[in-house]
Amino acid sequence: MKQRLSRLALGGYSILVIVYLFVPIAVMVVFSFNKPRGRRNYEWNRFSLDAWKDPFKYENLRAAFVKSLEVGLIVTLVAGVIGTVMAVSLVKYRFRGKGFLNTLIVMPLTMPEVVLGFSLLNLFVLVDQQRGVLTIVIAHVMFCISYVATTVKARIRGFNWQLEEAAADLGATPWQTFRRVTFPIIAPGVFAAALLTFALSLDDFTITYFVSGRDRTFPLEVWTEKQFPPQINVFGTLILLAAVVLSVAGMLNSRRRTARSKP
């Protein structure tokens, strides 16, 4: 009985936290239906579907959003791979210089973004590197490595490396070992890191401002858009819907797969 109560309490608490996470999101969705009196969507004026009827009215917002998605996907891929591989190295092996590497991956997190952005800009100017999508990706990967490595390390810690040896003893190649033994175990960590990286890249403003040249990502558009049209809220809501649909589909899909694999 006590167990059930504590389970209910935990469940209730968790739901509350999730609700709390969504409070500003709810505000955002609600305000997508607002028709602000002036240029700024800060106060409820009256209900209107105008923004929904014309979500792509601001072409610059749409283009910026697409650009953010492109950058986000590339960054997630690159940072995901090199960060994971670094994390494996740091947790699995005993070697000199490990402490230095462990500290190094944390250091970018400690620097204020304006400093990171400006310093990177200086480097690009020094070597005459034109600013654009490439430099944005470079910058994002740079600070995302820290997030990926830290998250994946937490997952790998305590992994029984003898399993890998066993696989090798049974004739598996290193790639097969990785694919069938190591990766399935670290996969949730990698997936979580990928989610965080994508969100971070999509969200970044300050560093992107400095290394972006004339290219505009979604946060740049939103931040410098002195007017906040409800279309921005519409975009946010659409992203949300898309992500919810994707994850529910993913859940149904994995249910199907587990059902199929049950003996």
């Binding site: 504590s6 935990l10 608490y13 968790s14 936290v17 999730i18 996470l21 969504f22 409070v23 500003p24 999101i25 505000v27 955002m28 305000f31 591989v85 670094m86 494996v88 190295s89 699995k92 092996y93 005993r94 070697f95 402490g99 590497l101 500290t103 190094l104 970018p108 997190l109 400690t110 620097m111 204020p112 304006v114 400093v115 990171l116 990177l120 200086n122 910058a139 740079m142 997030y147 998250t151 937490a154 997952r155 305590g158 029984n160 490396w161 949730p188 960590g189 979580a192 989610l195 965080l196 994508f198 969100a199 999509l202 969200d203 403003f205 946010g236 992500a243 994707l246 994850s247 859940m251």
Partner: protein
Amino acid sequence: MATEGKVGEVTPRRRSTPWLLAAPALIWLVVFFVIPMVLLGRESLRSGGIGNYGDVFTGYTAVFRRTFWYALLATVLCVLLGYPLAYYIAMRARRARNVLLALVVLPFFTTYLIRTISWVILLSENGPVPKVLRSLDLLGQSSSIIGTTPAVVGALAYNFLPFMVLPIYVSLEKIDPKLLEAGPDLYASGWRTFRKVTLPLSLPGLFAGSLLTFIPAAGDFVNSTFVGGTSTTMIGNVVAENFDSPGLRPEMSAISFVLMAVILVGVLVYARLLGTEELG
């Protein structure tokens, strides 16, 4: 303390293996982080030399203290909110797991600015929250929420919650359920099992989550700008505001290095305390 098997590190068969694996990330960081930092270091010594660093300690101690205090409060708040949630998702919600994780991260696919402004809309004078609190007599007529420490800390915690939840989740999810079943079998209470088995096993995740919350929070300036006031300035505000003046830039660069150093020391201490062998 039982774990999955042999904890610990492997001596690499070839000395170069760990370095090869770490190489891509290492090179990336050296080229795109270390070198810019060296350039920044030169900047921090311009017009004033090492004295710039001394100035940091005389002029900015109050802001530093406040910044670390806020970041600490926000991190603790994130642990209180995030750990139970991560536990629930990892242990109790097998089927809905991916959806719940997605729900945790989804709010962060909308821009930082939109989220913060939504809080401003809620917490500001014309918004619902002060009205409700005042009608419940929890808030004075002349006081407001925006501009206070709780507002800034609350907003900080809000914005970093997924960074706490996800790492804790991944390390909890890994725990072999049999270990948890062993607890009650040996007559340990639920709480005892948690304290002696679950919590220690989740420490890597807790450590990672705390790092990914505390460190960025310490450098943040957005929350303080929007929901803060004149008495909630964080070191991120100072640097962001003044970095564009060429005259103040050396000092701001010095501040950034001091910030980095203090945080790294704190992280080392924390790693020792938790007993994880994180930093070497």
